[in-house]
């Protein structure tokens, strides 16, 4: 090929990890996210155990049953995410479309329920300025919600791409990387639900 440039002279680049670059990138980024949520959850723990006033008992302020259902909903979305990726991997375009869109919709449902919960709590007079409990509750769940929201936006974009046939058994990396993020957000929620609602 005239004027062409050959790279790597027939030898592969050195690879520190035997996975493709986008995946390494997402792992690295998630390490940073872990530290972000650690800072919030860590602060919660320090403030809670250093608090002079008594902390409300589980269920005293927050509605545990509804959030438990919401947690289940979010876990379901992780399942559909796995399904979407599995479908893409084998080249099942219909399945990819269906499950990607389903994940986006279930994620939106989670957000919807959370917004309703916020409305209800604010209506009862429990806001971010309601003591340390309110401060930490809204900051932690709010930032988790923001992460879910970002994920849902990406998922709708991925669904649109899937409907245009963008994913198949050779091009599924985007979906896999998005899946990593989505499972991470899900995992964070399980920790938050335990720490904030149940303990």
């Amino acid at each position: 090929m005239a004027g062409a440039v050959t790279y790597y002279a027939g030898r592969a680049p050195e690879r520190g990890l035997a996975v493709y670059t986008q995946k390494v990138g997402m792992w690295v980024f998630l390490a940073s996210e872990v530290m972000f949520f650690t800072s919030l959850i860590g602060s919660y723990i320090i403030l809670r155990f250093g608090a002079s006033e008594t902390w409300p008992l589980p269920g005293e302020v927050l509605n545990i049953p509804i959030t438990a259902i919401n947690t289940f909903i979010l876990i379901c979305s992780s399942v559909t995410m796995v399904k979407a990726f599995a479908a893409a991997e084998v080249g099942d375009k219909r399945g990819t479309r269906l499950f990607t869109l389903a994940t986006a919709l279930i994620g939106s449902t989670f957000l919807g329920v959370q917004i309703l919960e916020y409305r209800e709590l604010l209506h009862e007079g429990f806001g971010p300025s309601s003591g340390l409990y309110g401060s930490t509750f809204y900051t932690m769940t709010g930032f988790h919600g923001f992460h879910v929201f970002s994920g849902v936006c990406c998922l709708f974009w991925a669904s649109w791409k899937a409907f245009r046939g963008g994913y198949d058994n050779r091009a599924y990396k985007g979906l896999e990387v998005l899946g990593l993020y989505w499972h991470f957000v899900d995992l964070v929620w399980i920790i938050l639900f335990t720490v904030v609602y149940l303990i």
């Binding site: 090929m1 004027g3 062409a4 440039v5 050959t6 790279y7 790597y8 002279a9 030898r11 592969a12 680049p13 050195e14 690879r15 520190g16 990890l17 493709y20 670059t21 986008q22 390494v24 990138g25 690295v28 980024f29 390490a31 940073s32 996210e33 530290m35 972000f36 650690t38 800072s39 919030l40 602060s43 320090i46 403030l47 250093g50 608090a51 002079s52 006033e53 806001g127 971010p128 300025s129 003591g131 340390l132 309110g134 401060s135 930490t136 809204y138 900051t139 930032f143």
Partner: protein
């Protein structure tokens, strides 16, 4: 001309052979070299801005209550009749630290050189995620603009110090600053985002995009240093972001994280801040250590002494760096037992720095020393970093820290590390890599004068601060008059201020040299320093995609004066062993 770029999977992608528009080429560029140069201009601007703020601070300390030259240009809210107000002084101190630490030194070390050097030194065509890289620059720009603009809003810029200790920073009624403090927070949250995006890129690129043969132990020490720095930034920046968000919420939506009246904990801010802040200290010095190692080897025409120990020191600093934050808080009211454990871990983390210093000396030992400007600054780095490192031992000892905590001794220490250390390393790096970046040489004579004057004035400014601190002079005082134990010390302020003006002017020499060389410097050859690493084995400046042919690496990074190479005293990393065939490594 079509170019083929191998994706890490080996699948070639043909780049469109069209000429990029001006905007895509120079403004919204995804080429790591252009982004590095963009960061260079941004951070040099902030270096200048931070320097100007320092000059104003120095004026006030030397001649308190005297109108500043050109002081009448300032509005009534900052300096009526040219005499600065205490609240404006606090803003100056805060923003000087913020500009210098976050926007000048950090961006110079990481934004500029991690971007520019990592792909070139590891033999990659670009970063792993060029668009994310572009985003990291374009997030940093508004961050800087917001920080600058905060001077103009009502109440002025943030005035609670660059550490913004709560609750002063969380209580506008106590500090008199409300919007300025919030803009400070937003600015640093954006900068943190930029840093996280950048770090993700650097780490991924180093892990998975090294040229064939570029094994971990053949990485130039600059890459090692930048890689470890990126890990530190990746893991510490989000903690700062978390703390900043809580602080912002305390100010805006009525939360109580740091407000004790409602059960919040002021010390929590300090723990979070320094959990970030101590790794940040190493973010601000490790890359300069990398540059110094490499430039000392080049100037001495010897391999780096104890390469493996150097890498080991970097890694151990990264690990220990997360365990020593409490040494900033010995006098904070934290549990004294906790202080004891932090004191021990702090003593331990001094060891890797000692190893590095001795290895630098070992690199010079029995060398054949070429004193080009980068080499002078690298030697200056070692000489001054040693002072900064040794003065750190005084405050690492918690009982003696009782006396020097929050005095000018600390100010002297941080400047020996950040200016004598980091900034000397940065100057060395700019003089060294300028020919690669712009294809022109900088003026050597002017460079040497710049070095001599900077070295002289730097010591005249910051060494006396040690004695001021030992005399018990507290930090961040608008004026130090009125304290009996400080009587008779005013002349030291005058000496320091006059020297500081000298230091600023010698910085201007650098600016002149930089600007002049950019357009008029003599054309640079591909490898003006006879250096071994990969970036010198491609034209200056390198083309888009960096290489005609991606290099294959056969040798360690700093193979100078190899006995098996007879005709020259350096061996490029990609020289084929069948052409020159050294025994090892």
């Amino acid at each position: 001309m079509a170019t083929i770029v191998a994706e890490p999977t080996g699948r070639p992608v043909v780049r469109e052979p069209h000429e990029l528009s001006f905007i895509r080429k120079y403004i919204f560029s995804s080429d790591h070299k252009v982004i590095g140069i963009q960061f260079l201009f941004l951070s040099l601007f902030f270096l200048l801005a931070g320097g100007l703020l320092a000059m104003m601070i120095r004026w006030q300390l030397a001649w308190p209550g005297q109108p500043m030259p050109l002081g009448s240009l300032f509005p009534e809210t900052m300096a009526p009749d040219g005499i600065m107000l205490p609240e404006f002084y606090n803003s100056l101190v805060t923003m000087h630290g913020t500009f210098m630490i976050f926007f000048a030194v950090m961006l110079l070390l990481v934004g500029v050189f991690a971007n520019y050097l990592i792909p070139l030194q590891i033999g990659a065509p670009d970063m792993a995620f060029p668009r994310i890289n572009m985003a990291s620059f374009w997030v940093a720009v508004p961050a800087g603009l917001i920080a600058l603009a905060s001077f103009l809003v009502e109440g002025g810029a943030a005035g609670a110090g660059w550490t913004s200790y709560a609750p002063l920073s969380a209580m506008p009624e106590a500090s008199g600053v409300s919007l300025g403090q919030q803009m400070w927070i937003v600015s640093l949250v954006l900068l943190g985002l930029s840093s996280i995006l950048g770090s993700t890129n650097y780490i991924t690129t180093v892990i998975n995009m090294r040229a064939p043969g570029m094994t971990w132990m053949r990485l130039p020490l600059t890459v090692w240093a930048l890689f470890i720095t990126a890990i530190l930034a990746l893991l510490s920046m989000p903690v700062l972001t978390g703390a900043m968000i809580m602080l912002l919420f305390d100010q805006t939506i009525g939360t109580h994280f740091f407000l004790p009246a409602e059960g919040g904990q002021p010390l929590l801010w300090q723990h979070l801040f320094w959990f970030f802040g101590h790794p940040e200290v190493y973010i601000l010095i490790l890359p300069a250590m990398g540059f110094t190692s490499e430039i000392l080897a080049n100037g001495s025409r010897k391999p780096v002494f104890g390469y493996h120990a150097m890498v080991g020191a970097l890694v151990s600093i990264a690990v220990l760096g997360f365990m020593v934050w409490g040494h900033h808080m010995f006098q904070s009211g934290m549990n004294p037992l906790l202080a004891t454990s932090f004191m021990v871990s702090t003593m331990v983390i001094a060891v890797p720095s000692a190893i590095k210093t001795f290895n630098w000396m070992g690199t010079m030992w029995r060398g054949n020393l070429h004193f080009h400007t980068p080499m002078l600054f690298a030697i200056g780095f070692v000489m001054l970093f040693v002072i900064g490192g040794l003065s750190g031992i005084f405050m690492a000892s918690a009982p003696f820290d009782i006396f020097i905590h929050d005095t000018y001794f600390i100010v002297a220490h941080i400047h020996y590390v950040l200016f004598g250390g980091a900034l000397f390393g940065i100057f060395a790096a700019i003089y060294y890599w300028f020919p690669k970046m712009f294809g022109r040489m900088m003026n050597e004579k002017l460079g040497k004068v710049h070095f001599a004057l900077t070295f002289l004035f730097f010591n005249l400014v910051f060494f006396p601060m040690h004695t001021q601190g030992l005399a018990g002079m507290m930090r961040r005082l608008y004026q130090t008059t009125g304290y009996e134990h400080l009587e008779g010390l005013q002349w030291t302020h005058v000496l320091i201020t006059i020297s500081a003006f000298g230091l600023f002017l010698s910085g201007m020499l650098f600016a002149v040299n930089f600007a002049w060389s950019l357009f008029r410097g003599p054309k640079a050859p591909a490898n003006p320093w006879n250096a071994t690493t990969l970036e010198w084995q491609t034209p200056s400046p390198p083309m888009h995609g960096n290489w005609e042919e991606v290099p294959v690496v056969y040798h360690g990074p700093h193979e100078y004066s190899h006995p098996d190479v007879a005709d020259k005293d350096w061996l490029a990393q990609n020289e084929r062993p069948d052409v020159v065939s050294p025994a090892r490594p």
